[in-house]
Symmetry: C2
């Protein structure tokens, strides 16, 4: 379970799309949200777009692994697709904020969690990216900048911190982290049997 | 502090040489030993070749971070070069066995230790490599095989386990582990100041 968090505008969406395209072993956890779709966003790919009523039902039905409210919109991680992917031996990528990360950290899955924080090189660059996105008004951008700073203040709660100055470098670093974490002894479940067989002992 | 252990003949020496050649940030910790040099081995590069008396003096003078006896020969890690390299902000690679790894694990440096175990694909391949080395007699090879099995039984004490079926793949995995470990939040010492400066707070 790989968690990627970052302030909005730090390049996380580009990084996660590239990672998913290059790495067949990983599945994106698609969040549910009550906010309306932006131009180009596809239901079921970018988010599951749901009503407030449906979201509330998911909360009450324990259908969400974590959920949080941001700017009056609600965001949550549907539990079933994550559990199905993990059961099939796949890795799951979570594109969630510090609130969601803290909640996942409090579940049984905490020991399996790898938490990665993406920092922008500076706040000017981050603001430039938010403006270039061109979907938001000035006061919305100011509010998003304040929220970005709030997100950044939680960098200390993550296992890895990457500085996204260059997307190719940052992507290579992400891939190195994924590969390394997969090579951890405790994640290689067949290893004990493999070694016993090699040593000619009873499996 | 990166520790690489493996049974003799699993390709560790090739891997560490390639790694050192490709990665300017890492320094090899050269062990001291009382065993005589093999053909082609250079004092100060492959080992510091020392007498039993000198080795014993190093032990008594607390000049060794760890030491062990293998086949009547003594091996140890001189403390001073390691401390100098770490103080200069360099990473240090230790090519030591499970006994040395256990001792490093009991020092103050344990929290900084990254322990990597290299497995051969199978024992036949390992024996083939030992024979191909062509420096040892049959009974010596048998003793080395027994010792290799003993080493392999300690795989469970390592953070990462790599299977060396193909040296290029294994080298890429090693590099990924090094890069990932360097990206760990707690190893990026300037990060707190960097983030404070970014957020415009007092450094």
């Amino acid at each position: 379970m790989f968690v990627m968090s970052s302030p909005s505008g730090a390049g996380k969406t580009t990084l996660s799309r590239r990672l998913l395209a290059d790495d067949p072993q990983i599945t994106l956890s698609v969040s549910a949200t009550t906010r309306p779709p932006r131009a180009g966003e596809v239901d079921g790919r970018d988010y599951f777009f749901v009503s407030q009523t449906r979201f509330q039902a998911m909360v009450h039905g324990h259908e969400l692994l974590e959920y949080a409210t941001v700017f009056d919109n609600r965001y949550g991680t549907p539990r079933a697709p994550v559990e199905a992917a993990l059961a099939a031996g796949r890795d799951v990528l979570f594109d969630i904020d510090w609130q969601g990360t803290q909640q996942l950290q409090q579940t049984d899955a905490a020991s399996d969690l790898v938490r990665i924080f993406i920092l922008p090189p500076n706040l000017a660059e981050l603001e430039r990216r938010l403006i270039a996105r061109n979907t938001d008004h000035a006061e919305v951008i100011a509010a998003r900048m304040a929220r970005a700073c709030d997100e950044i203040r939680h960098w200390g709660e993550y296992d890895y911190v990457l500085l996204n100055e260059d997307v190719e470098t940052c992507l290579a670093e992400l891939k190195a982290i994924l590969l390394a974490e997969r090579l951890r002894r405790r994640r290689q479940l067949g290893l004990a049997d493999f070694v016993r067989a090699m040593l000619g002992e009873a499996v």
